[in-house]
């Protein structure tokens, strides 16, 4: 990785931004992501009602000017719950991805730079985690630990860490024996310095791209578990929770499930389109690796 001077990287950033804006798919993705992020950031200001406030008299109301997406079985405004739900989705998506990134980086470095037996052991563990269908692993963990935000995070991190660690391991192995690393070592550099100054900067680029493309996957998993009634506990208005509650009333009040599903579609489409465009622009090599 060539260290870039500040003005050059600034130029690269504006160039990247311009190219995204000129790509219709990328632009579409960016707009969708911005909608979700903004509604998450400003939820308390834009939500027309308090998402937790009950109004039993107005329960199961059809969409109208006062309730754009109608109300649910307890009279709570669905649009407000959808907007507030983006906070939960983003919180889970970002925190889980960040945790997995750190875990994957650490384990990947250990596997790639550590002794051979540790590498083999870690690879076996990664394969074992990979042998579980994600939802089955999640259900087993939830049975034992009970449904909560922490359990959801635990599941997500367990499932994604092996993938990231493998990526880091591969890029570590690929430059471990490069001549400049040998030279560093000959100069007396220790493992932490070599890892931090040379190996991590090389591995972090593709890792960030892959992880950012995983954000919608994580959000979907949380929503899926909440749909099963096993994710973030009520009354938090998670999108999956909306689907779960609306599912019982699907015949008479379809607004609840429509309201719960739409933001999920918007989020996954937005992040995926934006991520794919970014990946193609930043690292054409990865396109084939995936």
């Amino acid at each position: 990785m060539i260290p870039a001077s500040a003005p050059a990287s600034e130029r690269a950033a504006t160039r990247l931004a311009r190219r995204i804006l000129h790509d219709p798919i990328g632009l579409f993705g960016l707009v969708l992501v911005l909608i979700v992020v903004c509604s998450g950031l400003f939820a308390d200001w834009i939500a027309p009602y308090d998402p937790l406030k009950l109004a039993v008299r107005e329960r199961m109301a059809d969409p109208s000017m006062s309730h754009l997406l109608g109300t649910d079985q307890l009279g709570r405004d669905i649009l407000s719950r959808v907007i507030k739900g983006s906070q939960i989705a983003l919180l889970v998506g970002l925190s889980a991805t960040l945790l997995s990134l750190l875990g994957g980086l650490l384990l990947g470095l250990l596997a790639g730079y550590g002794p051979r037996w540790l590498d083999n052991l870690l690879l076996l563990l990664f394969d074992a985690v990979h042998a579980f269908p994600v939802i089955m692993l999640a259900l087993a963990v939830i049975t034992l630990f009970g449904p909560s935000l922490v359990t959801v995070l635990l599941v997500v991190v367990t499932v994604t860490v092996p993938r990231y660690a493998r990526l880091v391991r591969t890029s570590t192995l690929s430059i471990k024996h490069a001549e400049f690393i040998l030279a560093e070592r000959a100069l007396g550099a220790r493992a932490p310095r070599i890892l931090l100054h040379h190996i991590v900067p090389n591995a972090i680029g593709p890792l960030l791209i892959i992880a950012s493309m995983d954000i919608p996957v994580v959000i979907t998993l949380e929503a899926g578990l909440s749909f099963l009634g096993l994710g973030v506990p009520p009354p938090a208005p998670s999108w999956g929770r909306l689907l779960n509650e609306g599912y019982s009333f699907i015949r008479d009040t379809p607004w609840i499930v429509i309201g719960g599903g739409l933001p999920l579609i918007v989020t996954t489409l937005g992040f995926t389109f934006l991520g794919e465009t970014l990946r193609d622009l930043l690292d054409p090599k990865l396109r084939k690796a995936l």
């Binding site: 579980f132 089955m136 692993l137 963990v141 049975t143 979907t220 499930v257 579609i265 996954t268 992040f271």
Partner: protein, 314 residues
């Protein structure tokens, strides 16, 4: 090939053993034990002890581990905490429903996705190619349970074309088929996108190779080149993907079962999770892990048998 097979089977067994050990030891990570989890906070100590004794939890841990592996190998997955039924019976009763759903979902996506990918590669940059590219990404990223709920809402509730819930009357194939359509649609939609993209990419690569150029120079029709010569090679990455994709296929089948209220592994496990019936959850998880590992193994062996470069480790 023999060496590769032995190596690959050994690895699969090892992975299963590690996964089983992990499932088993997960119980010891949590505060309390499966017996108190199942009974909940209001259980008396006597009830807890009785259940623990029935589940074999009162014996020393090493003996429990040996018993556990011995039982699993002889096909005994333990007993249901509540109904005292054998877990293996429950799991293998629901498994065919889940497998049928997964196969139906995969089947229609293969029938649509692979030709779509071939066509996109043959007519690169045509309108259909671009359209299918965008739609594929959309289909892949769409959560399968949202597809399931929306299709339930649209086709079963609003339009009333297809039945909404259940798996149909046993012994009436047409009724069962009708009940299978919507769940299979939800399970397979993402796969259409996956397959179309993967086949397109590998087809483009194959179409640039010398033997295809030779076939072209002989004046063979393009259709024959794509479907007879190129597809045979281009389909290989798909086989690998199908093997590793069984896991996500099972996951979306679980959701589809719950949305459409079909019997199957998903219903079984969700019910068990809600009653904290850990033996049933663990049994079902072990069976799906075994199934998944087996599918990955078969896919790898198939690809290796077909492509000598892989068994040589190239």
């Amino acid at each position: 090939m023999l060496y590769y097979t032995i190596q690959r089977v050994g690895l699969a067994l090892l992975i299963c053993i590690v996964a089983m050990t992990a499932m088993f030891s997960l119980v010891y990570v949590i505060p309390g034990d499966p017996a108190s989890i199942a009974l909940g906070p209001r259980a008396t100590p006597e009830m807890r002890q009785a259940l623990a004794a029935r589940m074999g939890l009162d014996r020393p841990v090493p003996i429990q581990i040996v018993n556990f592996f011995g039982n699993v190998l002889s096909g005994d997955l333990g007993v249901d905490v509540w109904s005292n039924r054998s877990v293996a019976t429950s799991v293998f009763e629901s498994l065919p429903y889940t497998l049928a759903l997964a196969a139906a979902g995969l089947g229609w996506s293969v029938l649509v996705g692979i030709p779509l990918g071939c066509y996109s590669a043959a007519r690169r940059n045509s309108l259909l190619d671009k359209l299918s590219g965008v739609l594929s990404v959309g289909a892949i990223s769409m959560p399968s349970f949202v597809v399931a709920i929306y299709s339930l809402l649209l086709f079963a509730v609003t339009l009333g074309w297809l039945p909404a819930i259940g798996a149909g009357e046993p012994g009436q194939p047409l009724d069962q088929l009708g009940h299978l359509i919507l769940p299979a649609l939800a399970v397979g939609l993402g796969w259409v996108g996956y397959l179309a993209r993967l086949v397109r990419a590998s087809m483009l690569e194959v179409l640039g190779e010398p033997h295809i150029r030779t076939a072209r120079s002989f004046g063979l029709p393009e259709r024959m080149i794509v479907f007879r010569y190129a597809l045979r090679i281009a389909v290989l990455p798909t086989v690998t993907l199908l093997g590793t994709g069984v896991g996500s296929l099972l996951s979306s089948a679980v959701f589809a079962e719950i949305v459409f209220n079909r019997p199957g592994i998903g219903q079984l496990v969700l019910g068990a999770v809600n009653t904290r019936n850990y033996p049933v959850v663990m049994g079902a998880v072990l069976v799906t892990v075994g199934l998944f590992t087996l599918c990955t193994l078969i896919a790898d062996l198939l690809v290796a048998a077909y492509d000598p470069r892989i068994r040589a480790g190239l």
